[in-house]
């Protein structure tokens, strides 16, 4: 299994990156850092996706004259999926940042624990 892992090292690194992002999301208390963790997660995912399509010694799929089509190019599908993923990630980040701005305007802190503590008192009343 270790052999297989070493052969697939790029995917393994991508997944570890995803895990780092996940840990950042879980352990950081600052909302901006949580967001950064989320973006690291996405980046790991995109790296993973691109490495799925890569084939040694082949080029990006822009067709040129005089190339044997079936043996010159990498798999174009993951590239397209990564494009979609990046756009989604950008949109999501923008919305999350907008939410962060609004949250800061209300609570004047970005520390999720402090915000949580503030609402805990509120919940004491409601729960």
């Amino acid at each position: 299994m270790l052999d297989a892992l070493l052969n697939n090292y790029q995917e393994a690194v991508a997944i570890i990156l995803f895990g780092i992002g996940f840990a950042t999301l879980l352990f950081q208390r600052n909302l901006i850092r949580k967001l950064i963790g989320m973006n690291i997660m996405d980046a790991g995912l995109f790296l993973f996706l691109t490495s799925l399509g890569y084939i040694h010694g082949r080029k990006a799929p822009i067709i040129e004259e005089g190339k044997i089509l079936s043996e010159a190019f990498i798999n174009p599908v993951p590239s397209g999926l990564v494009l979609t993923g990046i756009v989604v990630s950008v949109s999501v980040t923008a919305v999350m940042l907008a939410l962060t701005v609004r949250l800061y305007k209300r609570y004047h802190t970005l520390d999720m624990d402090e915000i949580y503590a503030m609402t805990l008192i509120e919940r004491e009343e409601n729960d």
Binding site: F18, P76, V77, L83, V87, H108
Partner: protein, 307 residues
């Protein structure tokens, strides 16, 4: 109460004052929320020793949370690495996965007229995904506008203040005015050559958006506001996305019913080729540029164009 909050949150309480007072300001919204918050304030005042309780609960929650988080992280990475080991070998063609990809490469030029196979894939073969993708961006724009744009009742409350008024800085303005046309041209080139070379609507649109951001940052918002009012930005988004959705709907309809597609494919390699891919790239580029500029403007000062 202020002392309590200060001790509780270890922060300057000037923010808290404002936080508590937001609910007191005239608000058209439902009264329920108000009463809940007022009741909370009352309970705060009557229970000064609640702080201990909070800290106790928080600590217990924290320990539990951390243990669960560590375990889930490690478990997750281990499981994923196990899966990676069973995936096809990196850097070699996956024989099983080749059916779709090889068809895109071998027939892509013939069937769509685009030299760039990725563009052919995202704007022709799997165009529905990309349609959804541009609408994700649109959704994000709408959400950000809802969140950050000053509404009718905010007009009196907030006054947009120019945080970085750079328009008086001569160096910035001159360099900006020099740079912006170049970047604009580069973005347009990327968009127009999307079907021939790497690039396309999304990347080119981002570059266009960046040039607009540089323009408004260097020459000040007064310059860009003259061109990009909220209404014009909306009209542009509407035109681009409306064209995109309707034309793609037409192509889907024609394709699924086996009719003849009236859009010519052109000569491969020429600018005017690849059927709908070029106009779609332009539409996507416009949307992305509008969205990027809209994001910047909303985050910077809470409005697009003049309020």
């Amino acid at each position: 109460m202020k002392e309590f909050l200060r001790a509780c949150f270890r922060k300057d309480s000037s923010g808290m004052e404002e936080f508590l007072n937001t609910e007191e300001k005239p608000d058209v919204s439902r009264q329920i929320r108000k009463s809940a918050v007022r009741k909370w304030q009352e309970s705060l005042l009557s229970n000064p020793e609640m702080q201990k309780e909070i800290q106790r609960r928080q600590q217990r929650y924290h320990v539990l949370y951390r243990i669960i988080a560590v375990i889930s992280c490690i478990l997750f990475i281990a499981v994923m690495l196990y899966m990676i080991a069973h995936l096809p070998l990196y850097g070699f063609k996956n024989p099983r996965a080749d059916v779709v990809a090889s068809r895109y490469i071998e027939k892509g030029l013939e069937e769509t007229g685009a030299v760039n196979v990725v563009a052919a894939m995202i704007l022709d073969y799997r165009a529905f995904d990309t349609l959804g993708e541009s609408f994700v961006l649109f959704t994000a724009l709408v959400c950000t506008t809802i969140l950050l744009r000053f509404g009718a009742k905010d007009k009196n409350r907030f006054v947009a203040e120019p945080v970085f008024d750079t328009s008086s800085d001569t160096i910035l303005r001159v360099i900006g005015l020099f740079l912006v046309p170049c970047i604009l041209l580069f973005g347009i080139y990327i968009i127009l050559n999307g079907h021939l070379s790497p690039g396309g609507g999304f990347s080119g649109g981002t570059i266009l958006g960046a040039s607009l951001i540089i323009l408004s940052a260097s020459a000040g918002f007064t310059t860009t506001d003259r061109i990009f009012t909220y209404k014009r930005l909306n009209i542009m988004t509407f035109a681009a996305l409306g064209f995109y959705s309707l034309s793609k709907g037409f192509v889907f309809f024609v394709g699924a019913n086996g009719m003849h597609n009236p859009i010519p494919k052109g000569i491969p390699g020429a600018i005017l080729s690849a059927g709908l891919i070029l106009p779609l790239n332009i539409a996507v580029g416009l949307v992305v540029a509008c969205t990027m500029y809209g994001f910047y403007s909303l985050f910077e000062r809470g409005m697009i164009g003049h309020a």
